[in-house]
């Protein structure tokens, strides 16, 4: 089976700063992977590389068997055209720590915008699907509310619905609950759990160890731009092998 994400020795640097220094991991279809690690270890950068918001400098990165950001002809890599890159991105959903909802349109408008203008789905069909998704995240009554009129937890659930509306084959979550008041974290995790149960392939950067333990199929601990330890979440969380993992978990839990 082709892995959904296959990272082989991925390097990424910003100028002189090496952020990813040989990340190797793979995510199978239907797998939920949680990515943990100290701040600045390169977790966000890795997610951004997967949907080509950043271009990698070395190694190979495949999504669903297709090279990300480059086209390989013969033995030579060519930078990918902007159009093809956009085409790749629409199959990958991304949820941001700060929601990044579009404030000038309603919840419904947020969900349908790209479906109508990028996928060219007829408006009526897009709206019907958006209504279903709003129902799934429990926000049918907020369809016509603007982002400024919603709570953080509601915003993040709309953001998840917005990403799902594109029918992605892979969902990336970058600390989806870190900007939320504690009492709002649960409602977002619940939606994510529902997604995982439905078989969505997900990579989740998170500090919610409870979610990692219950929902994730695998757990990866990153530090300093490399994967330090990976495996079954319960094993890694209860019996971390590596010293850096032990230190990190001692601080977080």
């Amino acid at each position: 089976m082709t892995p959904m994400v296959d990272a082989q020795n991925v390097y990424k640097s910003f100028g002189a700063l090496d952020v990813l220094r040989g990340v190797t991991l793979s995510v199978q279809p239907g797998e939920v992977m949680c990515l943990i690690g100290p701040s600045g270890s390169g977790k966000s950068t890795f997610l951004r590389c997967i949907n080509h918001l950043e271009q990698i400098n070395a190694g190979r990165l495949y999504v669903d068997g297709e090279l990300v950001g480059y086209v390989e002809r013969g033995n030579v890599l060519h930078e990918m055209s902007l159009r093809k890159a956009a085409r790749q991105r629409r199959d990958i959903g991304m949820v941001f720590q700060r929601f990044n909802l579009f404030p000038h349109v309603t919840a419904l408008g947020n969900i349908t915008m790209a479906v109508i203008h990028v996928k060219k789905t007829p408006k009526k069909q897009a709206t019907a699907r958006a209504a279903e998704l709003l129902d799934m995240v429990g926000l049918s009554h907020k369809a016509h509310a603007y982002p400024a009129q919603m709570s953080g937890g509601q915003l993040q659930r709309v953001a998840i619905a917005r990403a799902l509306a594109m029918d992605p084959k892979l969902m990336l979550f970058d600390e989806p609950t870190s900007a939320l008041d504690p009492e709002l974290v649960g409602e977002v995790l619940e939606v994510m759990k529902k997604l995982a149960d439905d078989g969505m392939t997900m990579i989740v950067v998170t500090h919610e160890m409870g979610f990692a333990r219950e929902v994730a199929d695998s757990l990866v601990f990153m530090d300093n731009g490399v994967v330090v330890e990976a495996g079954d979440p319960r094993t890694v969380l209860t019996a971390p092998q590596h010293k850096r993992t032990q230190e990190f978990l001692a601080k977080v839990v």
């Binding site: 956009a86 991105r89 941001f96 579009f102 000038h104 309603t106 915008m113 400024a148």
Partner: protein
């Protein structure tokens, strides 16, 4: 509204206690403000009285010429100059702003250089230059430089069309200001917005059109409103081209004709003021349109709907 908010704190199954008596406080007095207002209103009255009785204003002539065909035709031309120059100026301004924000260094420099020149020199001087265009460039050759010419335009013919020279002069100058306004607007939009749009598979152009510009509008509209009003008045400089059919030129012509300049200037001012007022109303509605979603404040209707929804929930919980 007060009643609606009172409902939100209710606990299901509770007896609802009667609300306490509504506060009816004595309003705070501001004697200082009242005194100042009286002084200002009285001064204003003196000025209006003086103007009405001052023979130099010659109100009879003012009313005689106010709706004179020569005036409203010139007013129409001034309006047309304003609208055309603004439409072209805004369009070019948006293009320049987008050029300035592309990663392409050459585009950036061209845009920067344009703004440097057109904002850095007086519009009056620029208009004189446009009037001299056919003297500076008698012929425009189209073709492959130094190799072959396809066709040639004699500029003298199109230089006769002074109206369009005025429009070109005004709009190219305006584009420099609009470029800066639009650029500021685009940069005021949070970076996460274009990131989210990109992640959804939108192209740069689509993201700009659907996500960035509509949000930038909130920052762009108020200064653009100023620009329109400023443009309306700057049209009085087209005499530099020289173009002489606009409102101010007409007021000067009629001043000479009637030997009575003051009422003519008053009439021109009245027309300018009328257009400015109409523009202000338009700006108000545009601002309101692009403020959508900008506020947490809900309309009375939204608040009522929310209160009703809460009531429904309470009923359901109680059962």
């Amino acid at each position: 509204m007060a009643a609606a908010q009172g409902n939100l704190g209710r606990v299901p199954g509770d007896e609802v206690p009667p609300p306490p008596e509504r506060i009816r406080a004595k309003p705070l007095r501001h004697p200082g403000r009242t005194a100042w207002a009286a002084v200002i209103v009285f001064s204003l009255f003196l000025f209006i009285y003086g103007a009405a009785t001052n023979a130099a204003y010659d109100w009879d002539t003012y009313f005689q010429y106010l709706f004179d065909q020569r005036f409203w035709q010139a007013a129409g031309i001034t309006l047309l100059l304003t609208v055309l120059s603004m439409v072209l100026g805004v369009t070019l301004g948006v293009i320049l702003a987008v050029m300035r924000l592309t990663p392409n260094r050459i585009m950036q420099s061209v845009s920067w250089g344009y703004v440097w020149i057109f904002r850095g020199t007086p519009v009056y001087v620029q208009l004189v230059f446009w009037g001299l265009f056919s003297t500076i460039y008698p012929r425009l050759d189209f073709g492959i430089p130094f190799v072959e010419q396809f066709f040639t335009i004699e500029t003298a013919a199109f230089a006769e069309n002074v109206f369009w020279l005025a429009v070109i002069g005004l709009s190219l100058n305006e584009a420099a200001y609009m470029a800066e306004i639009v650029r500021g607007g685009i940069q005021s939009v949070d970076e996460g917005q274009s990131e989210a749009a990109t992640a959804l598979g939108m192209s740069r152009a689509l993201a700009l059109r659907l996500v960035i510009l509509p949000q930038a509008m909130r920052a762009i509209i108020p200064p653009t409103g100023n620009e329109v009003i400023s443009m309306l008045k700057t049209t009085s400089l087209v005499t530099a081209v020289p173009y002489t059919f606009d409102l101010y030129a007409r007021a000067r012509d009629l001043s000479v004709e009637t030997f009575n300049p003051v009422p003519m200037l008053l009439i021109a001012s009245t027309w300018y003021l009328l257009f400015t007022s109409i523009l202000m109303v338009g700006q108000h509605y545009l601002e309101r349109h692009f403020a959508r979603g900008a506020s947490r404040i809900m309309s009375d209707r939204q608040l009522q709907a929310l209160a009703d929804a809460e009531d429904d929930n309470l009923l359901k919980d109680a059962k």
